[in-house]
């Protein structure tokens, strides 16, 4: 009897043994989303590529065939894989995939959730080489849904993807169509007075930076699952059902503010990892992040999924509808924010303590107390006559998407990077809301802190980590098993979605140590300082970069090397 029981237990724990085989073919094809065919890079003939559905525990074999005339690669974003399977050319001996060749990836799936894949070669991701990747958990997870949709947001451009980078190098303001004009100057004088306006202009001029530079590349067509706003991708539901939407921001350069007017969204996963449910009205999704939400549409009508890029140059639109062919209203478009001196971490309002960096950094490990003083001020981010206060809030809080009422009533654009013009009373997701559903198993304090300064020069379109471009960068070397704190100090006026391959980082967001959320992308707001904790438990060379494609291509990347001690390596 005992033997039988043991056998039964053994059978239950080992089975089912999944092993799947998948084929992806990368090819250049004409894709028509803008009204005429545009030469793009497709996976199995489509943009986005096919959604890969894996099972936790599965041994997957993925054959990727390159039918381009150039080298290609596929990287599994957010996936825990052996380093040589990570798909970054030049690391771990991975050569990329030569034209006409097939590369076979083999790895065991060690996680569940919503992830994605994309090229890590040149600018192919912008040209269309991306797709979703969904892993069903071994045990049913905490999230129940009647329907389950992948919603891939992306930015599509008719220009050749390499040519975009060249133009940014040749004419850095090429895509900025939100410059402050002579007229804006007089508007600002009328509102803020001549002295304040002049000082503002001189401050920016002294730094040779443009406060309207919030997205380097703009005027995209924004897609949902490869469909333009006109093509209106539609997901069906029956009123009363629970619908899971797996949002993936597969854009090359675009952050979105996303809402579904009329529906609360309950955030249940961030970056593929279960989090305690957070009901929100909207969220800002950084490039390469994913958020899974549950919505429960009750009415028999169409709801609009509306995602505005922070440049506000267009929008992505999709529809949740009880039947095909229905359309909800397009919500009122929101204004584009203008950066303030506070986004640069500098202003004249007497904030010298900020320069020490301590207030901005030390809050994380100690618990929620440190977070609150940034958010308890209901005027946070609203009072544009006091840009200094605004800046303090950004830097103290982790909330890159702090709710702030639109400041347009008094005229002028909303001030500050984080200002999404969220209406009063509406809840926008904040990083500090995220609590890991499963307790963290490693809650050790870090052995050491590694500071990573995010830098750049918009005039030359050069972007750096610790002052170095990728070709000059010193790798970050970690010992296997080591616990470190990575502290990102954003010295630029742009947000940077920092992505580490191969391992999750625990975002230090003011939650208790065992509830810190796992992230593969951490958005670092302009002028802000955020920390993450990392357990270096995956040996190999891992790319570590800003996930804005053209920042990475312009140098904002290095590698993190996790090395076993020599005695371990020989085993």
């Amino acid at each position: 009897m005992l033997r039988f029981c043991l056998a039964l237990v053994a059978a239950l724990t080992t089975a089912p043994a999944w092993a799947g085989e998948y084929n992806l073919a990368i090819d250049r094809r004409d894709v028509n989303v803008t009204g005429h065919p545009v030469s793009s890079i497709t996976v199995n003939g489509q943009i986005p590529g096919p959604t890969l559905r894996f099972h936790e525990g599965e041994d997957v074999t993925i054959h990727v065939t390159n039918r381009l005339k150039e080298d290609a690669s596929v990287h599994w974003h957010g996936m825990l894989v052996p380093a040589q399977m990570d798909g970054v050319p030049g690391l771990n001996g991975y050569p990329g995939i030569k034209p006409g060749e097939t590369y076979t990836y083999r790895f065991k799936i060690r996680q569940a959730g919503t992830y994605w894949y994309h090229s890590h070669t040149g600018t192919q991701e912008q040209a269309g080489l991306y797709g979703a990747l969904v892993i069903d958990p071994r045990e049913p997870g905490p999230v129940k849904a009647d329907r389950d949709y992948v919603v891939v947001l992306s930015d599509f451009k008719e220009e050749n993807s390499d040519e975009i980078l060249r133009k940014l190098k040749a004419m850095p303001g090429y895509y900025n169509r939100g410059r402050r004009t002579v007229g804006d100057f007089f508007d600002d004088v009328a509102r803020d007075g001549l002295g304040a306006t002049l000082r503002d202009r001189l401050d920016w001029g002294e730094m040779r930076m443009d406060p309207t530079d919030i997205a380097d590349v703009s005027n995209y067509t924004y897609l949902v699952n490869g469909r333009s706003p006109q093509q209106n991708w539609t997901a069906l539901f029956k009123p009363g059902e629970r619908v899971r939407l797996r949002f993936i921001n597969a854009s090359s350069m675009s952050y979105f503010d996303l809402r579904i007017p009329g529906l609360k969204m309950i955030v249940v996963q961030a970056d593929g990892q279960d989090v305690e449910p957070v009901p929100v009205d909207e969220f800002r999704i950084a490039v390469a992040e994913t958020y899974d939400v549950i919505v429960m549409p009750k009415e028999d009508k169409a709801y609009t999924i509306f995602a505005e890029p922070i440049s506000r140059a267009g929008y992505a639109r999709a529809t949740l509808a009880p039947r095909q062919g229905l359309e909800g209203p397009i919500p009122k478009r929101r204004p584009r924010a203008v950066l303030t001196m506070a986004d640069m971490g500098m202003n004249h309002a007497g904030m010298d303590h900020m320069d020490t960096g301590h207030d901005g950094m030390s809050h994380g490990a100690t618990g929620p107390g440190g977070m609150d003083h940034g958010m308890s001020d209901p005027k946070a981010g609203m009072d544009h006559h006091m840009p200094g206060m605004e800046g303090m809030d950004h830097r103290h809080g982790m909330d890159h998407d702090m709710p702030a009422a639109a400041s347009t009533e008094s005229g002028g654009p909303p001030r500050g990077w984080a200002n999404a013009s969220t209406p009063a009373g509406m809840k926008a997701l904040q990083y500090s809301d995220l609590r890991s559903y499963k307790p963290q198993t490693d809650t050790r304090p870090p052995d050491r802190e590694i500071v990573v300064r995010l830098g750049g020069n918009m005039e030359r379109f050069i972007w750096t980590l610790n002052g170095a471009k990728v070709e000059d960068a010193k790798p970050i070397e970690l010992k296997y098993g080591e616990r470190v704190k990575l502290t990102f100090v954003n010295e630029t006026m742009m947000a940077h979605p920092m992505h580490l391959h191969g391992m999750f980082v625990q975002l230090v967001n003011g939650q208790p140590a065992e509830r810190l959320p796992n992230k593969h992308v951490v958005n670092v707001a302009p002028g802000a300082t955020y920390s993450v904790l990392l357990t270096a438990n995956e040996p190999g060379e891992w790319a570590f970069h800003c996930h804005l494609l053209y920042h990475m291509a312009a140098g904002m990347m290095t590698k993190v090397v996790v090395a076993r001690m020599s005695s371990e390596a020989s085993r």
């Binding site: 150039e70 080298d71 690669s73 970054v88 050319p89 030049g90 690391l91 990329g96 070669t121 040149g122 600018t123 390499d162 980078l165 060249r166 133009k167 190098k169 040749a170 004419m171 090429y174 169509r177 939100g178 410059r179 402050r180 004009t181 002579v182 007229g183 001189l202 001029g205 002294e206 730094m207 040779r208 020069n457 005039e459 030359r460 050069i462 471009k469 990728v470 070709e471 960068a473 790319a543 291509a553 140098g555 990347m557 590698k559």
Partner: protein, 245 residues
Amino acid sequence: MRLHYLSIGLGLAGCFAGAMMAAAHGGGDEFGKPSLFWAAGAEIDATNLDWLDDESGTLVTWDTFAWYGGDDLKLRLEAEGEAVDGKADESELRGYLSWNVADFWDLQAGVRHDFVRDHLTWAAVGVQGLAPYFFETDAHVFLSENGDAALRIEQSIDLAVTQDVFLEPHIEINAYAQDVPELGVGAGLASAELGLQLRYEITREVAPYVDLVYQRALGETSIIARSAGESVEETTLRFGLRLRF
């Protein structure tokens, strides 16, 4: 074939060569392989001088550039000049190696060749970059084969009227360390040019413009001009096209 056409031709050839080389280098597949880029631009305009007191004919001016290279080091070619009724008054070609030495500044060293007057060749060294408050700045010292030294400083700034219309005040100052009789200039400040360009960017690449330009000979040079019966100042309204690639 007039030499100034050659200089324009060389500039354009540089663009094409740059484009070809950049295409050949594009899409690096190694981790951290630096990329090379290119850019080119031109401003070509024309005006009728007949309404001036002492001049006549059609004045054409050109100012073109092309570069090829990486973030740290670029090869840069520039051609600039002016012609009246097809006859060049000024025409020079400059070639620089351009090093990025500070965030906003390149140090440049190279040669300049004049295709008119004494066909002088000059050694050139200077800086190019963006000064605080967004002033595009060029400042170069030239040393001719005869041992004469010259200084040229140019600045301009773009003011957005709308997202497509830009007002660009610009200034150029030339000075010499000594009299250079063959060029008709005297020691000290020799000439200044002030302009106000209004341009409409149909695209970022193609922008027609009007440019109101006031030029004046200064100091010793103005005395030389006057004694030669030439005017010392001139105001022109020019109609042109700006190209950027």
